[in-house]
Amino acid sequence: MSSAAEIVFDRVTKRYPGRDEAAVDDLSLEIPAGAFCVLVGPSGGGKTTALKMVNRLIPFDSGEIRIDGRDIRTLPLTELRRGIGYVIQQVGLFPHMTVGDNVATVPRLLRWSKRRTSERVIELLELVGLEAADAKRYPSQLSGGQRQRVGLARALAADPPLLLMDEPFGALDPITRHRLQTELRRLHRDVGKTVIFVTHDIDEAIQMGDRIAILREGGVLAQYATPDALLADPVDDFVAQFIGGDRALRRLALRTLDELPLRPGESGPRVAPETTVRNAVSLLLELKADALTVADGDRVLGSFRLADASELL
């Protein structure tokens, strides 16, 4: 388990030459160490630009970006980048290298020993759900989902405290995307790194993020909040519209029954503790029941009524 980095955007502005409107406009954002921060917004909102400023693929005009308090422009470029994992939608695997060599790229740049590198490659392939034998295959022999897994393994190779991801699952089919989203969440819990994740899909943002920054056209930060706070209190019409309807139900989907103060005793049909509150409400309506019993196997934890759901909102 490695350390995670704190990232601060301090009044950062970027204007591309020959364009009137800023791509990123006076952006200030504090991302605590270990957070999963999602940048979301309509296309052209400056998400990619903001992300690429962090590893200095794109220079900015004014303001400062700090990683653990250090201005990124004071660090040597290659050193900065080797300490940041970078995952993009097109993956960008090196087609002439095997999966193993792709994953070993940064460890080799850092001159790790052969043995340490190859052990790390195997460890990573397993971490992202591939097999050690896949190390010998070439990218062209993999499916889209497998390629993105390799992209993730490659980004994690040297255990960077920060991971930048630009719509990493945007090109995948819905089933593969969902599987990878779930696994990335788990991975984030296990490896404890700071992640900045870009998407244009608000549902993906709500599912993945601890914190969500909504950028609107012109690169202006519209709101920066937890998914729950965002659904509860959109600051303006733009945010409300961008988030969409069913906000109460979607908030309930963020919680599971075992997180709630349950009523004592047994009442009604049994459900598992990891059922989301939204699904519990749906079940109550469907079964025309007054209450549900929350039980972990044979052990009864308590019961849940419809009124308990509205208490949460």
Binding site: T78, R82, Y86, F94, P95, H96, L109
Partner: protein, 238 residues
Amino acid sequence: MDGNGPVIPNFGQGDACVTGDHTFCWGWVRDHWSDTLGPALWQHVELTAVAVGIGFAIAFPLALLAHRFRKLEQPLGAFSALLYTIPSIALFQLLVPFTGITWTTVEIALVAYTLVILFPNVVAGLRSAPPDVVEAAEGMGLTRLQVLLRIELPLALPAIVAGLRIAVVSTISIGTIAAFLLPKGLGYPIFVALGNPIPFKTEIYAAGGLAVGLALLCDAGLVVLRWALAPWTRLARA
């Protein structure tokens, strides 16, 4: 030899096949391998190797420059394309006042052609690295030089080999025209045979066949080279 019969040059003791100018006389080939065909073949190999070698040695760094400084590609490409439009015999003639009727003249002309073929191929090869691949490499902290050496050059290999194949095959073919200037290469036996009042078929076919065989062999060799150096291109796309 009387004035009315076919005039066949005296290639030693020509047998019936030769004096009758049959379609192809193996005996003649065997008898004249060591004094005519063998040396001509060897000269042709040398001519080609030097032309492609020097052409590549010039084209490669120029292509690297054009790749690094994109503004240079246009002028460099235009210049080499201009060279290509000059017919080879005319180019030989243009060079004679400067370099005389020499091996150098021939090589300069041939190098010019290989340059025109190799330069755009190497540039295209270097450009063929997909933008997302280069972006990922840069994002991971590879330096410019590392991106060139570890990513762009290996990915350029198939295009470079493709350029070499065209350069080698066309140099072997254009190289036969060098015989207009110098008694060298596989063009020379053909030139001599054509000079007879009745062209001597065997010599033309033998020298021409050797040129074709040499071209095919070199081409196959380069295909094998690509196969060995670029294993990822052997795979079927998933």
